[in-house]
């Protein structure tokens, strides 16, 4: 994946953030979305270790040792930032106060099942906060490379890995495409600049429904 393709997918995900949303950005790629949000855009970023109104990441030199996000990055407050305990933080999540969460994925299935926490026998560090984000944010989007490092499609008919949550994903952003999860399966909405619909279909393990007409690019 070229640097541009990576940036473009992140910028594309950022464009779907609506004014007034409260958004939790998962560790990894999703965290980068914040770089594509205009400074005066009204959005509240939540981090599950106990912040609403997460501000920009700081260098170690400027960091407050007591102010990290859930990924361990040193962040800053904004006017209106609040800190709270972990029970209150997940109360916010479970009671539906997150308009949107953007999560990474190992696999997403055609029905919206998400697997992003465990590879049996290889990687099992614990679930952290992912299950609650995936199950309770009002919209769940996945931001991930289309294929894993071995070139296998992450978008699959059925997840082979243990699930984080069932039928939770609404939209998928990858370096190749924007895909919606609908009641009738996956729907291809946009393809990355320079790629064709066939490129995306060929790289995707799951069946993709392709609406008639020209597919927009991003």
């Amino acid at each position: 994946m070229s640097f541009n393709a990576r940036d473009r997918m992140i910028a594309r995900a950022a464009r779907d953030i609506q004014p007034g949303m409260t958004v939790n950005l998962g560790i990894g790629l999703p965290t980068k979305v914040v770089n594509f949000i205009p400074k005066d855009f009204p959005v509240c970023f939540h981090s599950e270790n106990g912040i609403s109104g997460v501000g920009p990441v700081l260098s170690n030199d400027d960091a407050d040792r007591n102010l990290i996000d859930a990924g361990g990055a040193y962040v800053s407050p904004l006017p209106g930032t609040a800190y709270f305990d972990s029970a209150t933080s997940f109360a916010m999540v479970r009671s539906g106060r997150l308009s949107l969460t953007l999560l990474g994925a190992f696999q997403v299935a055609a029905n919206g099942d998400l697997a992003n926490w465990k590879i049996p026998g290889v990687f099992a560090p614990g679930i952290g906060g992912a299950v609650e984000l995936a199950q309770k944010a009002r919209k769940v989007a996945v931001l991930t490379t289309h294929c894993d490092k071995k070139g296998r499609s992450k978008i699959v008919e059925t997840c082979s890995l243990p699930l984080t949550a069932k039928s939770c994903v609404d939209r998928i952003y990858t370096d190749m495409a924007v895909i919606d999860v609908s009641d009738n399966g996956l729907v291809l909405r946009e393809v990355a600049e320079g790629l064709t619909v066939s490129d995306v279909v060929a790289a995707t393990d799951a069946k993709l429904n392709v609406p008639a007409g020209t597919c927009p690019t991003f």
Binding site: P19, S52, G53, G80, A82, T88, F90, A91, S95
Partner: protein
């Protein structure tokens, strides 16, 4: 930047419809959102289910809604200071559901925490257990207490900013932050409307993501004052 949620009292209370459930903050006078209740009386929505710790006293707060016939059901821990509430309960015109005070607070919080309910041994072996589902947990029997959510919460804050970060004064905190967690739409009246950032991040009692509409009070009616007995 954070969303500006400031609005007028008319618009905010206008979101409430007949038949809605409405939580009211407050324990006695402190923390009771009298101005929001007053506007609810003015607009006259009917058949409300009201959730509040107590029924206030005659002539204030919840009593205005009772007097105006807007309350179908009241979920509360205590109505002893309001003779009208006692009378309406006795003549059956308002349904009263009593819940032990801490269980009421916790059931409201449970909704605010997105839980279905909790298990406790409070009230076991007494009439408080009547009709409650029993659950066995580690060999001990407890009572299942369902979460109480609501369509609206009306909250009184000492100070609030445009994003709806709140701070309470003294014992005026009580049920306010819990109800702000629990309701679908949270309407806040504040004595002091402050700029974003004026409340330090560590000093916020209720974070903005829980709240929806902020109403600035101009001056405080006498009912907020010290009760002269």
């Amino acid at each position: 930047m954070l969303l500006d949620k400031k609005t007028t009292i008319e618009e905010a209370i206008g979101r409430i419809k007949d038949g809605d459930s409405v939580m009211l903050g407050g324990f006695g006078v402190p923390g009771t959102p009298f101005c929001l209740i007053q506007e609810l009386v003015r607009q006259g929505q009917k058949d409300l289910t009201v959730i509040k710790n107590d029924a206030n006293e005659k002539g204030m707060g919840v009593d205005w809604l009772l007097e105006n016939g807007q309350v179908r059901k009241l979920i509360t821990s205590h109505i002893g200071l309001n003779a009208r509430a006692v009378e309406l309960k006795n003549n059956g015109s308002v349904e009263i559901e009593f819940v032990a005070q801490g269980i009421l607070a916790e059931r409201v919080r449970a909704a605010g925490a997105g839980l279905m309910g909790f298990v406790s041994d409070i009230g076991i072996d007494t009439e408080f257990a009547d009709g409650k589902q029993q659950v066995e947990l580690n060999g001990k029997v407890g009572l299942l207490e369902p979460a109480i959510n609501a369509d609206f919460a009306l909250v009184h804050a000492q100070s609030a900013d445009s994003f709806g970060n709140l701070r309470f004064s003294g014992t005026a905190m009580n049920f306010n932050p819990l109800m702000a967690m629990a309701a679908d739409t949270v309407i806040v009246e504040t004595e002091s409307y402050v700029a974003l950032g004026d409340i330090q991040p560590e000093d916020i009692h209720c974070p903005g993501p829980f709240t929806d509409a902020i109403v600035e009070l101009s001056d405080l009616p006498e009912v907020y004052g010290v009760v002269q007995r």
